[in-house]
């Protein structure tokens, strides 16, 4: 067994202890030890170890940190879900199993990532379609119009859209790299990018604004727009593009704020939740109470009252962690994310091919922005948005999409070290 996979296995065992410990703590404090739950968790740990074994047998050589980090987050997430909505526990475990398989598939297919670049417009089309699907046919489940129901299947397309959008942008931008850095047009004192370069940006901006208005989701809008702008900056190195992009976004936002009441309400809630703590700002105020009551050490699992926050098991799961595990637990979650994002950027910087470099960079950006927006949202650092917390929130779409993302990062990291040997 290669060293790298042996390290990964050890780290996975530690993550497994976190997972098992959490489930046992909830069981013990509730006074009933549910053996099937413990069985499920042991099965999941075995599943992670099996993935480790497959990677070893297939002589994969990727970053050994990603999988254990995901397993730790999943452990904390599953524990919290068992405590909040025990009836969803087994289902979430199923999603995670599927996620592990998807991870392996993603790792396998991402070996041929360079070929995806040839189908960049297909990727772009799928990405935009998925977003439009949610915007136009979105069904409101749990306060978000981000669900699409096709027959028996219901999913959140926006979770998957980010992967395709990143692939498209990476391919489009890496092809036009030289054009973008050199060809600019001067309009007086302003340096503006070439129209061919700015076209996809404007398209993403348009979609973002649509999401903003129709889905009432400033966070998702900012997420996609942010990915596009930052990836453009990665290629061009021109900070002015970032400025221009955000000025555009700001103008759009101000216009929306002026003309749409619900956006006004949302911003007002963020600016001063205490003006209407029992009405519009109920959710965010309850979330703040949860964090405050948790304090440094937390109330202890099952001893808090996170159930007072509506939608606590999806969007507000971080508040439940903050209440019952305290700053120690919630801070640990942020640190795990920081390590994950750091490793993702490291993968990007160590990659050889410009395309995979941009894919990894784009995925890292999407991960970082998503974490920032949702954690910032529930702590009132930023206006509240309806995006999930990767690997922790309940939901199949979120779990599977994030395993795809993780598989791609793993694969890109693998190529580099493979070449290096």
């Amino acid at each position: 067994m290669t060293n790298i996979r042996r390290h990964e296995r050890k780290l996975l065992l530690i993550a497994g202890v976190i997972m098992l410990n959490g489930i046992l703590a909830v069981s013990v404090s509730q006074g009933v030890v549910n053996y099937s739950n413990i069985g499920i968790v042991c099965g999941l740990i075995a599943g992670f170890l099996l993935v480790n074994l497959v990677l070893h047998k297939a002589r994969y050589n990727g970053d050994p940190i990603f999988l254990p980090l995901a397993a730790s987050l999943i452990g904390i997430g599953l524990t919290t879900i068992l405590r909040l909505k025990p009836e969803l526990f087994a289902l979430q475990a199923v999603w995670i199993c599927i996620g592990l398989v998807v991870f392996l598939l993603s790792v396998f297919f991402s070996r041929k990532l360079e070929q995806v670049a040839n189908f960049k417009y297909v990727c772009g089309f799928i990405g935009v379609s998925l977003l439009l699907l949610a915007i136009l046919f979105g069904v409101d489940i749990g306060g978000h119009k981000s669900w699409v129901i096709i027959g028996p299947i219901r999913f959140q397309p926006s979770e998957f859209a980010k992967v395709f959008i990143v692939l498209f942008l990476a391919a489009y931008l890496s092809e036009r790299r030289e054009l973008l850095t050199l060809a600019t047009r001067h309009y007086g004192p302003f340096v503006l990018p070439h129209p061919r370069f700015i076209a996809p940006l404007i398209a993403v901006w348009g979609i973002a604004m649509m999401m903003f208005i129709l889905q009432r989701d400033m966070g998702a809008a900012l997420l996609y727009f942010g990915i596009a702008i930052i990836m453009t900056y990665m290629v061009s190195g021109r900070f002015s593009y970032v400025i221009i992009g955000f000025v555009l976004f700001l103008i759009g936002s101000v216009i929306c704020y002026k003309f749409y009441n619900h956006i006004q309400t949302r911003v007002d809630i963020w600016l001063n939740p205490w003006a209407d703590p029992s009405g519009n700002a109920y959710q965010i105020v309850q979330s703040l109470f949860a964090f405050g009551s948790g304090g440094i050490m937390g109330s202890g699992l099952t001893y808090g009252s996170p159930g007072m926050i509506p939608e606590v098991h999806t969007d507000f799961i971080f508040a439940a962690i903050g209440e019952e595990m305290g700053f120690i637990g919630a801070g640990a979650v942020i640190i795990i994310y920081i390590i994950m994002v750091y490793r993702a950027f490291r993968v990007a910087m160590r990659s050889v091919m410009p395309f995979s470099m941009l894919v990894a960079g784009g995925l890292a950006v999407s991960m970082a922005l998503q974490i920032f927006l949702i954690i910032g949202g529930v702590t009132k650092f930023f206006p509240l948005t309806g995006i999930t917390l990767p690997f922790i929130s309940y939901g199949g779409s979120s779990i599977i999409a994030n395993f795809i993302l993780l598989g791609m990062l793993f694969s890109i990291s693998e190529v580099r070290s493979y070449d290096g040997e």
Partner: protein
């Protein structure tokens, strides 16, 4: 493949990584701000239902009187507990209430951490605290005597008013009554009418009610004049029916009675306005300000009692007429009944005012003492000699003067009556006093709002209270 531009891209990605990782680090710091610094504010916020929900799910400790009689206890009601108050309205202001809807007051509020057994330090231990804390709350034992309290409550009859009974040597409050009161057992149902009633039943008049003291303040004036030596015990003042103060102010005697040449003891016995108005003028603005300062009128008595701050006239700009008025406890001067009990205690405890307190001890569910409150000296106001001199004058008030209705056959009672004029209607009837005069055990202050003369209305109530407290 690794062209210059690829290296540029790597540099750009590094910058982006730096920015985004810093953003997440800022989030970490912000979270620590919410969960560490803002934590207290958010956890204790009145809209945070966690506190009340948790509090109703665990059994609170009892509030007991000095003899162990239950003033408040928790009764199991399905999964939650409700509070029962066996003594109802008579101790409602002291014990307070604990309502899920309308919050807490009184001891229920100030000692809620003890009653719920949730020591705030333990709370910070998180999950570990569940191992250390036992579910039962602590019991809070008060200095109150429930029987005396009920008697005092009945004593006020249908009048508005307040009564404070203290032990002068310890400062322990034996009874603290305020009327009108409310029934804490049915607070939730009657909240609308209780909270909006014009006669303010929620107001604890004994510590929050501000009244002109009237003639009971004269004991302080006597002590001040003797301390400042502007007057001695033998000196007399010729008291005609009124005191003319230039340019045009006239301070009349009650019923324009002319007492002739009288000394201090005689003046206190008949409660002469002319005599004590003259004392105030002799002391001057500075001397009077000093007197109130010496008696600690602006000094708070401690958080447990939540006393309203006395209102003193602005001595710098006080005219002579108002100065003389202040000398007989009128004018803009406003004090609480508790302060007046403390004033009386000065002369029952050799010039020393003890710090008033109402919680005697806190015991855990097994009866072991968690905390015990010690009595402490609050202020040394005057010398034992002068305190004794005033004591004797106060005995004369009860034996020969306006306070005859407070006299007991078995004990010598010392006291002073007051009939305080006010803007709300009839005079407030005051009586402060203590007994036995040679070895005081109980101090009492009684005020009956708009009920007439102190000697005829307040003194008989005080007499009954002193009799019961000493029997």
């Amino acid at each position: 493949m690794m062209g210059n531009d690829t290296r540029d891209v790597i540099t750009n990605i590094r910058k982006v990584a730096g920015c985004l990782l810093s953003l997440l680090a800022i989030l970490f710091v912000y979270l620590s701000y919410i969960q560490v610094i803002e934590s207290g504010f958010l956890a204790a916020h009145p809209l945070n239902r966690r506190n009340s929900e948790m509090a109703s799910s665990i059994e609170h400790g009892m509030i007991l009187d000095k003899n162990g009689k239950k003033l408040a206890y928790s009764k199991k009601n399905g999964n939650t507990f409700t509070r029962e108050y066996p003594y109802g309205a008579s101790v409602a202001h002291v014990v307070g209430y604990d309502s899920l809807k309308y919050g807490k007051a009184g001891i229920e509020s100030t000692y809620s951490n003890y009653l719920t057994g949730m020591n705030s330090q333990l709370h910070h231990l998180g999950a570990i605290s569940h191992l250390l804390s036992h579910q039962d709350g602590n019991n809070v034992m008060l200095t109150l005597d429930a029987a005396l309290q009920e008697m005092a409550y009945r004593g006020l009859g249908d009048h508005r008013g307040a009564i404070v009974v203290m032990n002068p040597h310890t400062g322990a409050i034996l009874a603290m009554v305020s009327k009108p009161s409310f029934n804490p057992n049915t607070l939730d149902q009657q909240w609308e009418s209780i909270s909006t009633a014009a006669n303010s039943p929620l107001l604890n008049r004994s510590v929050e009610g501000l009244y002109p003291p009237g003639s009971i303040l004269k004991v302080m004036m006597a002590d001040e004049a003797l301390t400042e030596k502007t007057m001695d015990l033998k000196q007399t003042i010729d008291c005609e029916g009124s005191l003319k103060i230039p340019p045009d102010y006239v301070l009349p005697e009650m019923g324009l009675h002319a007492y002739g040449k009288i000394n201090m003891e005689e003046a206190l016995t008949v409660s002469s306005n002319v005599f004590f108005g003259t004392l105030a003028l002799n002391l001057g603005n500075k001397g009077m300000a000093k007197a109130f300062d010496r008696y600690g009128f602006l000094r708070p008595v401690g958080q447990d009692l939540q006393e309203a701050k006395s209102h003193l006239p602005d001595f710098n700009s006080l005219g002579n007429g108002d100065l003389a008025q202040t000398g007989i406890g009128q004018g803009s001067l406003l004090v609480t009944p508790l302060r007046m009990a403390m004033l009386a205690s000065t002369f029952a405890n050799k010039g020393i005012i003890m710090k008033p307190y109402i919680v005697d001890r806190i015991t855990d569910a097994d009866g072991d003492v968690v905390e015990k409150f010690k009595s402490e000296e609050w202020l040394t106001v005057t010398s034992p000699q002068l305190a004794d001199a005033i004591n004797k004058m106060m005995v004369s008030v009860v034996n020969n003067g306006t306070g005859k209705a407070a006299a007991l056959s078995e004990f010598t009672v010392a006291g002073k009556t007051g009939t305080a004029e006010n803007s709300q209607g009839d005079s407030h009837a005051w009586f402060i006093g203590f007994a036995p005069a040679d070895n005081p055990q109980v101090v009492v202050a009684v005020i009956v709002e708009n009920a007439g003369g102190g000697g005829s209305v307040a003194a008989p109530i005080a007499r009954k209270i002193l009799a019961q407290a000493l029997h």
